[in-house]
């Protein structure tokens, strides 16, 4: 083999070079096939390994959680068990209303603001706006707990707590709004950028104003993708514990007030898991199943929406 190489340092005939390459290829072929099979098997194994814990989570949540899915559990509020009635833990209606209230209001505030912000980012290119875009994108990656510091320091301490409202649903709403806005803005701006340039250029060439192009061309085209981004952000916000846990307190009664304390599904899981009562701990599975179902439904709905509305395109 090495003699070949020495020879090949000189000027060589093409047929010799070809014969050399082909002989070498044949010699190495067996080893290459073996390595290839080994590597591909490794990939399949990693896929199987990945599914073991994920399967275990789904199996446990459903296995331990499904018998909590009763009308009684869903419709009665949580109850603090006393020492003699450890199993008297009530249900989750307080957490369901709390979740709907806080996430719903936060979404109502966040959606228009995010769309406006995404339009502002889309339309302009100044240095300040570049900084704002960078901030938005970095916020998406920052730990969500940081938002609750901001809300606690800038809203709760100076305003709410000063008037006696220490834990309020309102603080949670503000926190989740601030959490959702970067997520939604990034998604909505991506949707706007996804609109073919020719569309807006055609409208601009006809003399349309930028605001009209935005309202009549860009927004309608980008709408399905924006909706997906909004739903995905919502599904993430619904599961968040850290940004609201220390702001909203707990409420054992079902109520719809923004000024009172509230419990949401994730914070109820937190408190249950934090207690020593085995019944409360076990009920975590049931609440987790409800929460996971809600998140999945939001997620799947957004997929169906986008699949439906994009079917007509291309």
């Amino acid at each position: 083999m090495s003699t070949d190489v020495v020879e090949l340092d000189q000027e060589v005939e093409p047929e010799d070079r070809r014969a050399f390459v082909q002989r070498q290829s044949r010699e190495h072929y067996g080893r290459r096939v073996f390595l290839s099979r080994a590597f591909l098997s490794l990939l399949i194994v990693s896929l199987l390994v990945a599914f073991i814990p994920l399967f275990s989570i789904v199996q446990n949540v459903i296995g331990h959680g499904w018998h909590f899915l009763t009308w009684r559990f869903l419709s009665t509020p949580e109850q603090q068990p006393d020492i003699f009635h450890q199993s008297a833990i009530g249900g989750v209606s307080n957490a369901i209303t709390g979740t709907v209230l806080i996430d719903g209001v936060a979404m109502l505030v966040a959606v228009p603001l995010s769309i406006l912000l995404s339009m502002a980012l889309f339309e302009s290119k100044g240095r300040l706006m570049h900084a704002l875009r960078l901030y938005t994108e970095v916020m998406v990656g920052l730990p969500s707990i940081l938002v609750s510091f901001f809300v606690f320091a800038m809203v709760v301490t100076p305003f709410l707590a000063a008037s006696g409202y220490y834990f309020t649903a309102l603080a949670g709403v503000i926190s989740l709004t601030l959490l959702m806005i970067p997520l939604m803005t990034v998604a909505c701006e991506a949707a706007l950028r996804d609109v073919p340039v020719t569309y807006s250029e055609a409208a601009l060439a006809l003399g349309a104003r930028k605001s009209r192009v935005m309202m009549r061309v860009l927004l309608p085209y980008a709408f399905p993708r924006m909706l997906t981004g909004i739903m995905l952000s919502l599904s993430r916000a619904v599961g968040e514990t850290a940004p609201i846990l220390f702001l909203i307190g707990t409420s054992l009664v079902t109520n719809w007030s923004l000024w009172s304390e509230q419990t949401t599904l994730p914070t109820q899981i937190f408190h249950n898991l934090d207690s020593n009562n085995p019944y409360l701990r076990n009920a975590c599975w049931g609440i987790a199943l409800i929460l996971i179902t809600a998140v999945f439904v939001l997620n799947l709905t957004s997929r169906v929406i986008v699949a439906r509305s994009l079917r007509g395109r291309k």
Binding site: V5, D9, P14, R17, F20, Q24, S25, R26, H28, R32
Partner: protein, 291 residues
């Protein structure tokens, strides 16, 4: 070999003298030797999920010649080309029937493993596709390295040889470590040709290699083909009839039949196809009546 030298002189005469540094090789290997079949197609058909894309194609690709495949879009030229190095193996539901023989060995049912076959039958694609993360040198050396050849002395020599053959050596020899993406489109396509040549294929398949290039780069590649065929047999698919007329020695004309499956209408020397085709449909096509 002795008796062929007279043929050589006679046959090379009508062609432009070779321009680049393959040098002495050109004198030794006739550019238009009597047909020695290197790849033969017999009743080749390609179906996708039982829909026939191209059927009943039989012709022989002659060694050290350029064979072009022309025809309107949908006539199955590219499909047929991709069948020649088993790229359809990647597509689910694709079936290639009939026989394709490389040097007398069936490439689908014979003993040649697919990966080895593909280094004997190289391919250049419509758009230049150099490996973006590799340097110019690594791109060209990649095929040899895939095949287990690691000796640096050989690789250096082979890279220089392949780049020289692709008429790119002079312009890149000072920047072998540069990323492939820094080359222009035409240079990238020649880099891809060099990458394919480095593994010393017997046949080089070219799938509309100039369709994404500017006229000057196209000219470069066309010039290149006339010298490349001294070292490798070329099969080229082109949508450009003038290009087929300029670069090829033999020509296959394909056309979409009534059932939307491509068929071979005529296979002959390029000269015959473009001056005196035996089928009326060929005549119509080359005269621009359709397609």
């Amino acid at each position: 070999m002795m008796d062929m030298s007279s043929v050589t002189n006679e046959m090379t005469e009508p062609f432009a003298p070779p321009t680049i540094s393959i040098g002495s090789l050109v004198d030794q290997i006739p550019s238009n030797a009597p047909a020695e079949t290197v790849l033969s197609l017999r009743d080749v058909a390609v179906t996708f999920n039982s829909k026939v894309a191209v059927r009943d194609v039989s012709f022989d690709v002659a060694k050290n010649r350029v064979t072009s495949m022309i025809g309107p879009s949908g006539s199955g030229k590219t499909t047929l080309l991709r069948a020649m190095n088993r790229l359809h193996d990647l597509t689910k539901g694709a079936v290639v029937s009939g026989t394709l023989e490389l040097d007398g060995e069936d490439i689908y049912r014979g003993s040649i493993p697919t990966t080895l076959l593909r280094s004997r039958i190289g391919m250049v694609f419509q758009r230049p596709n150099p490996f973006p993360t590799m340097s110019i040198y690594d791109n060209v050396a990649s095929g040899l390295r895939f095949n287990g050849i690691k000796k640096k002395a050989f690789l250096d020599d082979a890279v220089e040889h392949a780049l020289t053959s692709a008429a790119l050596w002079e312009s890149v020899k000072g920047r072998m470590k540069a990323a492939a993406g820094t080359l222009s489109g035409g240079e990238q396509q020649r880099l891809c040709i060099a990458r394919a040549l480095a593994v010393e294929p017997e046949i080089l398949l070219m799938d509309e290699p100039t369709s994404s290039l500017d006229p000057v780069s196209t000219q470069h590649i066309e010039d290149l083909m006339s010298t490349l065929k001294e070292i490798v047999t070329i099969v080229i698919v082109t949508h450009n009839m003038q290009q087929a007329a300029r670069v090829s020695d033999d020509c296959a004309f394909l056309l979409m039949g009534e059932d939307r499956a491509g068929e071979l209408i005529e296979f002959a020397s390029t000269e015959k196809i473009f001056t005196n085709p035996s089928d009326k449909r060929t005549l119509d096509y080359i005269q621009g009546r359709f397609g």
